[in-house]
Subunit: 236 residues, 2 copies
DNA sequence: CACCAGAATTGATGTGGGTCAATGCCGGCC
DNA sequence: GGCCGGCATTGACCCACATCAATTCTGGTG
């Protein structure tokens, strides 16, 4: 779905109106330089379930997610899957100073990303050091998140994992107590992110609902009813 | 043990003779600029078991490990611990664009690190963009390692975890089949890195020894006797 | 609106690794 | 060289979560 007539090969990316920009790599640039990244960006739309990158493929392109949600994951030969993160607008995908992608990425919801040639990005980074600075800051945050996830996977119970996951999502999305929070990913995605099975995730949801920590208006939204109690349940 | 008479406040750090330099942040600089980082470095020696940084403390200093081994870890209030990585010479510690350290670091063996004030490093990075570039590359590698570790913690069996751990160590250290590899950390550290208990780690070692995949000449060394079989045991 | 296929929930049972406990081993110290 | 204390190993038992197996729910379609 790359390079559609409507938004490519002529029409450039509309960076000025991009909601993800303040959070994203491009947000590092001063207002006057808005078009610097836009001039090397190729917009790409993805339907839900479509793959953006494939682990092991040559990493020639990198991306900034502008809309939707992606999951990043690693697979084992026998099909076991670990989702290493869910990406939201502003997140950068493809960071890896090796030859190849070290994970796959797939759209959870219909998504839009800005594609850059890695080489073009490197050129721009040499010219605008604030880009590299921002990328380092994005990478640091991801690393901190990865370390928190290692603690979760290595040491937390199923209940603690689910509670931590919901709190983490809520804080990233800026959703407060009592607000409905979209939960676009499937139970199977949640399980593969938390290192559990679908059944265990489902049971943990049910228990928390019965304890009135959360409500589940439908399968793709949650309401955190008791934030403090959920924090306790998260274990830290 | 900061700022000892012998190597501080007068005698500067000997960067030219530093074995870790090619791998480390400072290795990004051209030979002519060897002293750039040395001029802002404070050497710090740590006995085994001593803490370098403490999760939650203000992150005013950052470090390059030049000798020895550190473990990075996160603790839960009830004492559960997850070791997120073992650092070897050349590794950078303290990366985190927040106010505070997001993990603690403790010496596994007697170690030496170069301490930098974060602010001084930021100044040098503004002046020498190749420093920031190198730091980004170090961060990317760490992120890739973190993602591999998430797969390990979320989806691998005890046996697969131990096999992966030994292979990872061997490749980082450049140790081949049949060579004795130092294993400076305790069984308890290995367990906390792999999300297991001491007992399970011990049993997995015993099984692999009986299967002749490895030998254990003493508690702090391993020999990989059958690299291919160990790869199979690692699951990917 | 009824049907249907895939997703989620719920229940029954199994098991890998945790827990608790005893024993073995090694290295530092007198 | 013998003693001692902490780490590692081994064994017996248990439990949280996985696995296997029905239902139940839901949203998309003719």
């Amino acid at each position: 779905m790359d390079c559609q007539p409507a938004n490519c090969c002529g029409a450039r990316v509309d960076c000025a109106g991009c909601e993800a920009r303040p959070l994203a790599l491009c947000g590092a640039l001063k207002a006057a330089d808005v078009q610097v990244m836009g001039s090397i960006a190729y917009p790409r739309k993805l339907d839900a379930g479509k793959q953006l990158i494939h682990e092991g493929d040559p990493a020639d392109d990198v991306f900034t997610l502008t809309d939707g949600m992606l999951k990043l994951y690693k697979l084992m030969p026998d099909g076991r899957r670990q989702i290493t993160g869910f990406m939201i607008p502003g997140d950068f995908i493809g960071l890896a100073y090796g030859q190849s992608y070290v994970y796959s990425a797939e759209a959870v919801t219909p998504s839009t990303a800005c594609r850059f040639r890695r080489s073009a990005l490197l050129d721009k980074m040499a010219e605008y050091p604030e880009l590299e600075h921002r990328l380092l800051s994005l990478a640091s945050n991801e690393l901190a998140a990865a370390q928190a996830q290692m603690l979760l996977l290595g040491r937390k119970s199923a209940r603690e994992r689910l509670a931590s996951f919901l709190l983490g999502l809520a804080s990233r999305r800026g959703v407060g107590e009592g607000d409905a929070m979209p939960l676009p990913m499937s139970r199977s995605d949640i399980a593969d992110f938390l290192g559990l099975t679908i059944e265990t995730v489902s049971r943990a949801f049910t228990v928390m609902r019965k304890e009135r920590l959360i409500s589940l208006p439908d399968k793709h939204s949650v309401i955190i009813d008791d934030h403090d109690a959920l924090r306790d349940a998260a274990g830290d």
